[in-house]
């Protein structure tokens, strides 16, 4: 009999050459996931636990006239029904958002989007809680909704945020960056200028696991333990202390296994707060887990940018300047999770990978009667929108100039010797080797051959398209002086303990939602100390057990916490050096390091392994001065700059001319994320992001009808791609280490989501060139492609 424990350990690397450090090893966390032994929020059962359910508004905009909870309270299994009025008394009816706005926890005055939280029922089981929602009588006085962002500032537009003092219209902000006059001067003198409206419609991260919480308030100790689907447990702890008035040392946030985040689980949703209130009110633990429709209709969406793009160039294809004006739909509350001082996140990197003379961008944010959110779905704080805009504009320019889009990009890349490169909107790109990546992707694709095939097919009336996209990501926020979440600086801590027998535990401030932290971070320690990864336990997701830090989003875990972990391991290594010197009765400066061992220079036989040193550190020998026992250390890493991963993507599509149906035939992705810790995990991240890209390019959109009804409230309506819609991914890589990062790593989590939509749309537009199509907006459904072929492409919103 073969039991699972007997199977070969790692097909990627034989036991003999299993890397102690970086390399391709299977994920340490996977055995529990593949055996169904993961532990998610909905797996949690606490003694006496009750269940909550949220009554949500069926309409988008309405004055709340009355709520009658009598019948719900009469349900034999219902223990409490909480309304906005109850929360007003507790000063919890409104909570701060991550963008200096407030959001209603429960409606007190007015419904502002369909699906908004109106009341919270706590019952003995989740069935009773759900049934009792139908027993609550709510009277609404309907108001006209604002659905079209383009009309949000019309003089007759209804005012959505009458709760905010002094507010007279639906404007949230007007923001701009770059030199407007300089840009205008270059545009005025340029040989060629092209302009295009480019829409990135509202989409949803749709993680496999929806959001949920189990709140357990102990009235005796006053301690709140909150199990949550959160990507940022430490930031949540501080926010709960501020919002709920519970002392921070009495709050423990635990983020167990998370079934996908993609930015959907950064913010604090009303459901989390309501679970806490429910637990305080009933004195019992309360579980709340939203269903799929609730997740799609009420939690943080992504994108929703209407971008007017302009690009200026010389007639021989030297790009001179970029300009854009954006209308951003932020929904009913400005709840964008974004860490900068500006309200458009990292969108100002819309200058892309090109050496420009000038750039200017302005963004206007407006309220509409839609769910709040705005930064989510692996978007790197709106780099997704920025890259999509510039990569569409470069392709449109290539068409105008009748140049090959790959050649046009090669002609305009920032050159390796120009790094660090200061762009025109204030970013300093740390490093890059763009032409190398572009050429590799073209070689992998067989670019010339593909163009020949395309020409032949066009002769026969077949529609084949080749799309090229190049992206520069910007990830790994801090530095803390420039980046914060509600005032909390974006640095991250790490603690490392090496036990007496040489086994280690490393504690992180970031939390995995599937990225493989338990493996990657063990490998970083392994690389630095020579302790095998299987002997290193990674602890994360529990604020009582881990050092403070800002969490996992914006591809920041490896750039920030990865730096922290490398540095804490080096600190331990230096401590080990002092102890080894004492053990070897020599001076520290006479020792040399090889992976796992300090030895005497020139006498390799005289040395001490990290295991021997660990035992000595905890033993009885006299330790050198300044070492007070143990082999532990902790650090906080405040990154000196962001990191700038990049990549070159090529997509090949075939379109059925009779139906408009798009088939993605091939996709070549060359990524450069600097130092590669575990290539298998990197490839997995890339595969996931590319699949996301296919979803956004071909099918995903959260639409609303004129009344504000969300038309994407289930997986029957909100489509996400399956294995049938994606090709076998062809991945490649170059390595350009970050010069400022302790191990040269740059982050990979969102690169493919950022880079793939423009490659796919560029391929589709390229395929449709015989029909004169210059641009079409996502999602490229068969109907929308056909409309573009008829010469009447239309914006999705």
């Amino acid at each position: 009999m073969t039991v699972i424990h007997d199977r070969p350990g790692n097909p990627a690397a034989g036991d003999a050459d299993r890397p102690i450090g970086y390399g391709r090893i299977q994920r340490k966390e996977d055995p529990r996931f593949v055996r169904g032994q993961g532990h998610y929020i909905d797996d949690m059962v606490l003694p006496g636990m009750l269940h909550g359910a949220i009554l949500r508004a069926p309409v988008a905009h309405a004055r709340l006239v009355s709520i009658d909870t009598t019948n719900a309270l009469a349900h034999p299994k219902v223990l409490a029904v909480i309304t906005g009025k109850d929360l007003l008394a507790l000063k919890l009816a409104w909570a701060p958002t991550l963008s200096a706005d407030v959001q209603a926890v429960l409606v007190t005055d007015k419904v502002r989007f369909q699906g908004q939280e109106v009341a919270f029922v706590v019952a003995e089981d989740r069935y009773a809680a759900r049934d009792a929602l139908e027993l609550i009588d709510v009277e609404y006085d309907l108001l006209p909704p604002v659905i079209d962002a383009r009309k949000a500032l019309d003089p007759d537009a209804p005012l959505i945020r009458d709760d905010l003092e002094g507010r007279t219209d639906n404007r949230i902000f007007d923001w701009e960056i770059g030199d407007e006059a300089e840009t205008e001067a270059i545009f005025a003198a340029a040989d060629v200028v092209v302009a295009q409206e480019v829409v990135y419609p509202r989409v949803h991260p749709a993680p496999m696991e929806t959001c949920g919480a189990v709140a357990d308030f102990d009235a005796v100790s006053g301690k709140l333990t909150l199990y949550e689907t959160t990507q940022a447990p430490h930031a949540h702890r501080t926010l709960f202390a501020i919002v709920a008035g519970i002392p921070e040392h009495k709050i423990r946030i635990v983020s167990p296994d998370i079934g996908g985040g993609f930015g959907n689980k950064v913010g604090i949703y009303p459901g989390y707060i309501l679970a806490v209130v429910g637990s305080i009110v009933t004195g019992k633990p309360v579980k709340w887990v939203e269903d799929r429709s609730e997740n799609l209709m009420s939690t943080s969406f992504a994108r929703d940018y209407i971008m007017q793009g302009e690009i200026a160039a010389t007639k021989d294809g030297k790009i001179l300047a970029l300009r854009t004006s954006v209308l951003a739909d932020h929904g009913a509350f400005n709840a964008t999770a974004q860490p900068t001082k500006n309200p458009a996140g990292f969108f100002s990197i819309f200058t892309g990978s090109y050496d420009l003379k000038a750039a200017f961008c302005k963004v206007r944010g407006v309220y509409t009667n839609k769910a709040p959110g705005g930064v989510a779905y692996a978007c790197s704080f709106r780099v997704t929108e920025a890259v999509y805009l510039v990569e569409r504009m470069v392709d449109i320019l290539a068409r105008k100039l009748d140049m090959d889009p790959a050649e046009l990009r090669l002609k305009n890349f920032i050159k390796p010797e120009q790094f660090p490169y200061a762009n025109k909107t204030g970013w300093v790109y740390d490093s890059g080797s763009y032409e190398e990546a572009m050429r590799l992707s073209m070689k992998m694709a067989g670019y010339e051959e593909l163009r020949r095939e395309q020409a032949e097919k066009r002769e026969r009336g077949e529609l084949m398209g080749i799309g090229v996209a190049f992206f520069t990501e910007v990830v790994g926020a801090g530095p803390r002086k420039h980046f914060d979440i509600v005032g909390l600086g974006m640095a991250d801590g790490a603690e490392l303990r090496v036990h007496p027998t040489g086994k280690a535990v490393v504690r992180l401030s970031v939390q995995s939602q599937g990225q493989g932290h338990e493996t990657t971070f063990a490998q970083i320690v392994a690389e630095e100390l020579g302790i095998p990864p299987e002997n290193i336990d990674v602890v994360h997701g529990d604020t009582d057990q881990t050092p403070f830090g800002l969490g996992t989003y914006g591809s920041r875990s490896t750039p920030v916490s990865g730096g922290a972990v490398a540095l804490v391991a080096r600190k331990v290594r230096e401590k080990a050096k002092l102890i080894a010197a004492a053990m070897l009765e020599t001076r520290p400066e006479d020792l040399e390091w090889e992976k796992g061992r300090w030895f005497v220079k020139g006498d390799p036989g005289a040395g001490k392994t990290i295991e021997e040193i660990a035992m000595a550190a905890h033993g009885t020998m006299t330790l050198p001065e300044g070492i007070d026992g143990n082999l532990d250390a902790e650090v906080t890493y405040d990154p000196p700059n962001l990191t700038f991963p990049f990549g070159a993507y090529i997509c090949v599509v075939d379109i059925d001319p009779g139906t408009g149906h798009v088939k993605v035939r091939r996709f070549i992705a060359v990524d450069d994320c600097g130092t590669r810790i575990n290539p298998m995990i990197i490839e997995g991240q890339v595969h996931g992001g590319l699949t996301d890209g296919v979803g956004m390019a071909l099918m995903e959109i959260i639409e609303f009808d004129e009344a504000g009804n969300c038309l994407g409230g289930s997986f029957m309506d909100y489509l996400i791609p399956t294995a049938m819609e994606v090709p076998d991914w062809e991945t490649g890589f170059t390595v350009t280490p970050s010069p400022h990062h302790p191990i040269g790593a740059k982050g990979i989590g969102e690169s493919a989501t950022v880079g793939s939509p423009p490659a796919i749309v560029n391929a589709i537009v390229d395929a449709l060139a015989p029909y004169g199509v210059v641009h079409m907006d996502m999602p490229c459904t068969p109907a929308r492609v056909w409309e573009a072929m008829q010469g009447r492409p239309r914006p999705p919103i």
């Binding site: 049934d131 139906t659 149906h661 399956t722 109907a783 409309e787």
Partner: protein
């Protein structure tokens, strides 16, 4: 987890038992087989039956039998069984064509032909297939068994001739010589409901002319087959101009609505395009059987 409204559940042990349970629990009871249409609607609380009568133990309704000039398919036959049947593929390739694009393997392993027909979703592929094949439904109730032609079976969206106290037991397909059939659909994504689809069945006379023709459209606002388009082909030698004309007629005959899957003009275009495609393939298949 989406939670349906409260309901009671009984598991039928035979067709007679199922009929008794339906009679006992009245019109607020619903039969559940694969459950892939009914259960999502219950979870969204769009359907709120008081009783579910589970017929998954009625193995007597799970069969594919060729008897004389009829293929008999039990109502509890799973999509996968239809897709994998060589006999079905040989006699009625339209069924194989359609089954290959119905949902995904997980759904096909569970969903049944009877459930598809009785759910009567306007975008249901098998409804069109059965229309096109002029199938006959075998329905049993307290008064015994009755046969219902497909043209009388569907009574509009989500409505059928099966009364609340009756059970669809079997679908019969007449095997015709020198026949060919085909189905094609356009969907936004595998597993999504059809944007539009078309099916056709053609029988050829000895001289190669079209002896019988059926053309059906899915999700395009039509009940039954498109007689006007069928008329274009009858008695004629199959050829491209006729397919084009039939497509044109089908496009003008259909009555689609605009939704997230597409606008009216696109759907009319698909009626035309897909009608031409399935006619080409069905006629080629019919000619192939003739030669074979």
């Amino acid at each position: 987890m989406q939670i349906p409204a409260p309901f009671d559940y009984e598991r039928a042990s035979s067709v007679n038992d199922a009929l008794e349970l339906l009679a006992r629990h009245g019109p607020e009871s619903r039969v559940v087989a694969g459950g892939h249409s009914l259960l999502p609607m219950m979870k969204l609380r769009l359907a709120r039956p008081e009783w579910l009568i589970d017929i998954n133990d009625l193995f007597e309704l799970d069969f594919i039998l060729l008897e004389g000039d009829h293929l008999r398919v039990g109502a509890l036959t799973r999509h996968t069984a239809l897709l994998e049947s060589a006999e079905v593929a040989r006699l009625f390739p339209i069924i194989s064509d359609a089954e290959a694009v119905i949902a995904d393997p997980v759904v096909r392993n569970r969903g049944t032909i009877g459930g598809s027909l009785c759910q009567a979703d306007p975008a249901e592929d098998l409804s069109t297939v059965c229309d096109v094949l002029r199938a006959v439904a075998v329905v049993r109730g307290p008064g015994g068994e009755r046969l219902v032609d497909m043209k009388d079976f569907h009574r509009g969206p989500y409505e059928t001739a099966v009364a609340p106290d009756e059970l669809l037991c079997e679908v019969r397909f007449a095997v015709r010589p020198n026949s060919g059939s085909a189905y094609e659909k356009v969907e936004r994504r595998v597993g999504d409901w059809a944007v539009a689809a078309a099916g056709a069945a053609i029988s050829l006379a000895d001289d190669g002319s079209v002896d019988a023709a059926a053309i059906g459209l899915t999700a395009l606002g039509l009940d039954g087959t498109v007689a006007e388009a069928e008329g274009v082909l009858l008695g004629q030698q199959p050829r491209e101009e006729l397919f084009v004309e039939a497509g044109r007629v089908a496009a003008s005959a259909c009555d689609p609505i605009a939704d997230q899957r597409g606008g009216i003009d696109y759907k009319r275009h698909l009626a035309d395009e897909l009608t031409r495609r399935v006619l080409r393939l069905a006629c080629a298949r019919a000619a192939g059987t003739q030669e074979g």
